[in-house]
């Protein structure tokens, strides 16, 4: 009887399935999504590269003048991320002292080329 009741209830209720990509899937605040680098905030400390479990972050030479807390400094390096190697654990975001590497609140893409870079 319980099966019949549930069937009837479902018959008169709205479909549960979300027709992605036509309809968007709701993404909660704090979702660990697509990785992104905010270049002007990066101080080139390499912490993100050291904590990355997938070793997808490498530091490349890049001498740029940036402003940190009102002071101007010259950073020596900046990170590049191998996009499809990233496992989105969020450790880089957690350990970054200047919020320069973030996990965006949007779904990450999928692909097969492990060498695609995020700069």
């Amino acid at each position: 009887m319980s099966v019949l009741r549930e069937m009837l209830e479902n018959l008169f209720s709205r479909p549960f399935t979300i027709l992605y990509p036509k309809e968007k899937v709701p993404i909660p605040v704090g979702f660990r999504g697509k990785i992104a680098i905010v270049d002007e905030k990066c101080i080139g400390c390499s912490r993100c590269a050291r904590v990355c479990p997938a070793e997808c972050i490498t530091m490349i030479p890049d001498e740029t003048e940036i402003e940190v807390k009102g002071k101007k400094i010259v950073r020596k390096k900046r990170p590049v991320v191998k996009f499809f190697r990233c496992i989105r654990c969020g450790l880089c975001e957690q350990y970054c002292p200047s919020e320069a590497i973030i996990m965006k609140c949007q779904l990450s893409e999928s692909g097969t080329d492990k060498e695609v870079l995020v700069q």
Binding site: S2, V3, E6, F16, R32, C52, P53, G90
Partner: protein, 393 residues
């Protein structure tokens, strides 16, 4: 009657993961079973030895997709004990909430799979629909549907906001209502009863003899649960009871899992309502002193054991993971005997096997072409020999 060997796998349309069964049959009746589970060896233990305590946690979470929090927590609990860290109660409660949500999603998923293997696909669809509630809660609390990344050595990485707590509490009654419906369906539906009752019997003595763990053991009357018998995180402070059954068949295992679903829901509600205030972590030292530790955790499928050896560095010297599925496989070879061939999927599914996390060792012949077997004595001797060699170095 002549006996026939019926090979199933390692690649087979009915299998979700690679495993090789050699079923010895006499007509339609099963006489014996030989198993080979070593098709998914990933060398994850060695990979874990190369990473420091920060980078190893996301790796260990990926030992198993469904019990990811179980592996992460078992490991960090072990390291925290070695480092003698006092973890704040709020962090322990958050770990418990995630652990129980994980158990719920695992058991609901299992119920769907069990219904699917007996051809009751309607229940499969309904259970998986309602499993989305637990997945959404996990996603909101941790940032991901799977591989939650909530743990770190010293505490948890994210706090729960009052909004998240209220939202979680508001969605629990609907889930409770749905679970009650499943209990009713499982107890009364002829489809389930005919395929589950009296199938894959395992007596209490057999369950103990073969070292069965988790819901499989509890369904045979073994009153044993790590959460109660060796309490960790916040379980000692929470009122709940261990669910057992005495029938020992697939139906019993279903009842235990459904009972655990209701218990887990109660634990989550209690934790959310009584979440202590305070810190969510303490700073952890970078290195762990020389120690050997056995960390035990009641994963959704049963007792999970992490053996950890540290050596005064920032990484483990050795980690050995004994997953619950490995402990339960031997019980399958016993409970399949004298059963019908058509019941293989149900009996195998009843232990909720997870193969990718089970495979730990593959012994290859010298040319590397064939897999080999080792007796217990040979394995002990091999262990002693490698231990002596390590000490000499």
């Amino acid at each position: 009657m002549p006996q026939v060997i019926l090979p199933i796998g390692p690649q087979h349309p009915a299998l979700k993961e690679p495993v090789n069964f050699k079923v010895i049959v006499d007509g339609e009746t099963i006489v014996g079973l030989e198993l080979d589970v070593s098709y998914t060896h990933r060398g994850i233990e060695k990979a874990a030895e190369q990473r420091d305590f920060i980078r190893v946690v996301p790796l260990l979470e990926r030992v198993c997709g469904i019990c990811s929090h179980a592996h992460g927590t078992a490991f960090v609990m072990g390291i925290e004990e070695v480092m003698q860290l006092e973890i704040p109660p709020r962090a322990q409660y958050i770990r418990t909430i995630v652990a129980e949500l994980e158990r719920m999603h695992s058991h609901i998923l299992w119920l769907g799979v069990a219904a699917h293997v007996v051809g009751f696909n309607t229940l499969f669809m309904w259970t998986w629909r309602d499993r989305e509630t637990t997945q959404d809660l996990l996603e909101e609390m941790t940032g991901n549907r799977m591989n939650y990344g909530i743990n770190e050595v010293g505490g948890v990485r994210r706090d729960l906001t009052p909004g998240q707590i209220t939202s979680a509490l508001s969605r629990l009654p609907k889930l409770e209502e749905q679970i009650a419906k499943y209990v009713d369906m499982v107890m009364n539906q002829e489809t389930m009863l005919l395929r589950f009752r009296g199938i894959g019997k395992l007596s209490k003595a057999e369950a103990l003899k073969y070292g069965t763990v988790g819901p499989t053991a509890r369904a045979s009357g073994v009153d044993y649960d790590i959460r109660r018998d060796d309490p960790y995180i916040a379980y000692s402070e929470i009122p709940w009871k261990v669910v057992t059954d005495t029938s020992g068949d697939v139906f019993g295992r279903t009842l235990v899992r459904i009972g655990e679903l209701q218990e887990s829901l109660g634990i989550i509600r209690y934790c959310l309502e009584h979440l202590p205030e305070g810190q969510i972590g303490v700073p952890a030292p970078k290195v762990a002193p020389v120690a050997e530790i056995l960390s035990r955790y009641e994963a959704p499928r049963g007792e999970l054991v992490h053996f950890i050896r540290t050596n005064n560095t920032d990484r483990v010297e050795r980690i050995d993971i004994r997953t619950p599925t490995l402990a339960n496989w031997t019980s399958v070879t016993v409970s399949l005997v004298n059963q019908n061939i058509a019941d293989i999927p149900v009996i195998v599914a009843a232990i909720d096997p997870c193969l990718s996390c089970t495979s730990r060792i593959t012994i290859l012949s010298e040319r590397g072409r064939k897999t080999a077997e080792m007796t217990w004595d040979q394995l002990s001797e091999y262990g002693r020999k490698s231990s002596r060699e390590r000490d000499r170095c």
